[in-house]
């Protein structure tokens, strides 16, 4: 899972001490990891918090479209695999929130921003999962695209994030293989199953390409992120890598990519895709996708329905602490 976070950075470097910044940049250039207690430019901190939080939110919202199919998975093996996958995503969310917290923002604050609509998450999850084949397509394409984006993040200059990404990438690559294997079993299955697989590819292909963000010419603020080694490759480079890896996989499945302009360029050795509908991308990012409102409402409902549980847990912890303190005081009094 991934976000378009890299493309809408809010950078303000005014007021930072030039010498400190020079030393910081030298460390980054030297491929050293920046750790939570190290000095860092405020804009670097802000950029990272936003990116990591958006990444965490994407994991959490991403649990919903896939969660749709846990109860309807067609075999016990598939059911266990999907449940474990969605659980992994919850785990990713948890340690990404923890990584962001090392930069000084609380999880409560981040969750609040997700629920209020202030924070973004990956737009891909604003598309619906209509059939079982969508579970395969998400694993294969969405997790596949996520991996392309995330492998470079394993070398991100910020230590806690890069370490989190190493673990996330391992699990994502397992999910990706699982998704492809699911697609394969459908593609080699009954005509109805193959049709299901084709339909899922038709619907998920273009949104997956959009996951890499706008074309390089329109991607703002990439420069600073590159210099800080938060971002290491351009959107278009990563997108092309994904296309080149995925097109042959689709052919192996015997499925057709929903792009009449798709062709192989013998000279460059790359697959070239047709025009991406950036208007659709902008609309979905802006909140007008098929499921934007639904997803956030579901998150809000879960949060609101769980409020009494969280309050109870806090109240109980307080009581316990108070009782312990009282017991210790009584003991001390007795000893005296």
């Amino acid at each position: 899972m991934y976000t378009q976070a890299l493309n809408n950075l809010d950078i303000d470097t005014t007021g930072d001490d030039a010498a400190l910044e020079a030393r910081f940049q030298a460390r980054v250039d030297d491929e050293q990891r920046i750790e939570p207690n190290d000095w860092m430019p405020e804009a670097y901190r802000k950029t990272l918090v936003r990116q990591i939080a958006q990444h965490a939110h994407s994991e959490i919202v991403g649990m919903l479209p896939e969660g749709n199919w846990i109860t309807r998975a067609p075999s016990l093996r598939r059911k266990a695999a999907l449940l474990a996958k969605v659980q992994d995503e919850g785990g990713h969310g948890l340690y990404l929130y923890a990584a962001a917290e090392t930069l000084g923002k609380s999880r409560e604050e981040m969750v609040e921003e997700l629920l209020s609509g202030k924070a973004k998450y990956s737009s891909i999850f604003n598309y619906p999962t209509l059939t079982w084949a969508d579970i395969g397509a998400i694993g294969w394409l969405v997790d596949g695209a996520a991996i392309m984006n995330q492998i470079p993040l394993c070398r991100c200059s910020y230590g806690p994030y890069s370490r989190a990404m190493i673990r996330v990438c391992k699990e994502e690559s397992f999910h990706q293989r699982q998704g492809y294997e699911l697609m394969l079993s459908l593609a080699k299955g009954t005509p109805e199953q193959k049709e299901m697989a084709q339909d899922a590819l038709n619907r998920w292909w273009w949104p997956s390409l959009m996951m890499f963000g706008p074309p390089d010419g329109e991607s703002i603020h990439s420069g600073k992120s590159m210099a800080w080694k938060i971002k290491r490759f351009s959107n278009d480079d990563l997108r092309q890598k994904f296309i080149d890896a995925t097109v042959p996989q689709a052919h192996f499945l015997g499925l057709e990519l929903p792009d009449p302009d798709l062709k192989f360029n013998e000279e460059t050795g790359h697959w070239e895709v047709g025009e991406i509908d950036w208007e659709e991308f902008q609309q979905v990012v802006a909140g007008n996708g098929p499921c934007n409102r639904q997803r956030i409402k579901q998150r809000r409902t879960a949060h609101e329905n769980g409020a009494w549980v969280r309050e109870a847990a806090t109240a109980y912890a307080d009581k316990r602490r108070a009782r312990k303190a009282a017991a210790a005081a009584a003991e001390a009094k007795e000893a005296a």
């Binding site: 959490i60 649990m63 919903l64 969660g67 846990i70 109860t71 309807r72 998975a73 067609p74 075999s75 016990l76 093996r77 598939r78 059911k79 266990a80 449940l83 474990a84 969605v86 659980q87 919850g90 785990g91 969310g93 948890l94 929130y97 079982w132 079993s185 459908l186 299955g189 009954t190 109805e192 199953q193 579901q298 409902t301 879960a302 329905n305 769980g306 409020a307 009494w308 549980v309 969280r310 309050e311 109870a312 847990a313 109240a315 109980y316 009581k319």
Partner: protein
């Protein structure tokens, strides 16, 4: 493929299926929470418990199929029986309700299953003993997790106390069925295969009383206990659960996934 009936199952197959059905139905219920739990940690914890239970059901269904010798696999049992063919206790099919209901259901069940699996580990049937040995470790965690929450909710806020009390009132009438035995069970107990569940009651009551005492809850007075699940007569809820669970297998009969 048509709907599968199990009316003439041997005592061992029936015994194994009942255990498998309990695990699958409760695992399915818990999986319904995924993405909707009160906090992220509980999304993960409930999915964990669900995965354990679904894993238990798979091992048990596979064994039931082998013991039956008709070539049925885990999915044939899970996906091709109608509600009357399911032999789980009524407790596990009760809807999730709020978090308190889910936790109380898990606690009442796990407090029973932990000593149950411990006894079954000594079964004369090696396969059941092996399944029990794995499940026992899992049940220990399920019990600890749910018991801690019963205490937190019971001794938390006024609202949580009210909700967990209400959950207990909803579910208590389904606990009697946990201790039922029929002729098939008794025949297997005699052969050293099955667990004499009536002997587990004192330990179950001790666990319940101990946790309730810490939670500030009172064990309800004995009420008229509901029964039927082990014989294939279920509550209204199981049909909906199966409609969800079996949809793809029913809509595309014979396909493999």
């Amino acid at each position: 493929m048509t709907t599968l009936h199990i009316d003439d199952a041997s005592p061992l197959v029936l015994y194994t299926l009942r255990l498998a059905d309990n695990a699958l139905v409760l695992g399915h219920r818990l999986s319904e929470w995924t993405g909707h739990a009160p906090m992220l940690e509980e999304d993960i914890a409930l999915a964990n418990v669900a995965l354990d239970l679904i894993g238990q059901s798979r091992a048990l269904y596979t064994y039931a199929g082998e013991a039956e010798g008709e070539g049925r696999d885990e999915d044939a049992f899970a996906y091709l029986r109608d509600a009357e063919g399911f032999r789980n206790v009524l407790l596990v099919e009760q809807p999730n309700g709020d978090f308190a209901v889910t936790i109380m259901r898990q606690f009442l069940y796990s407090a029973f299953m932990l000593p149950f699996w411990r006894k079954l580990m000594g079964s004369a049937d090696e396969r059941l003993a092996a399944i029990a040995a794995k499940a026992e470790k899992e049940a220990a965690y399920h019990l600890r997790h749910s018991a801690e929450w019963v205490i937190r909710l019971g001794d938390g806020t006024e609202e949580s106390h009210e909700r967990i009390t209400d959950a207990l009132a909803d579910l208590w009438m389904f606990t009697g069925e946990l201790f039922e035995m029929d002729d098939a069970d008794r025949a297997l107990v005699e052969r050293g295969i099955a667990v004499d569940v009536s002997a587990l009651r004192p330990e179950w009551e001790r666990t319940v009383d101990e946790i309730f005492a810490e939670a500030g809850l009172t064990r309800p007075a004995d009420v008229w206990m509901q029964t039927g699940g082990r014989g294939g007569r279920h509550s209204e809820h199981l049909g909906f659960l199966l409609a969800d669970l079996q949809f793809l297998q029913r809509a595309y009969p014979g396909a493999s996934w």
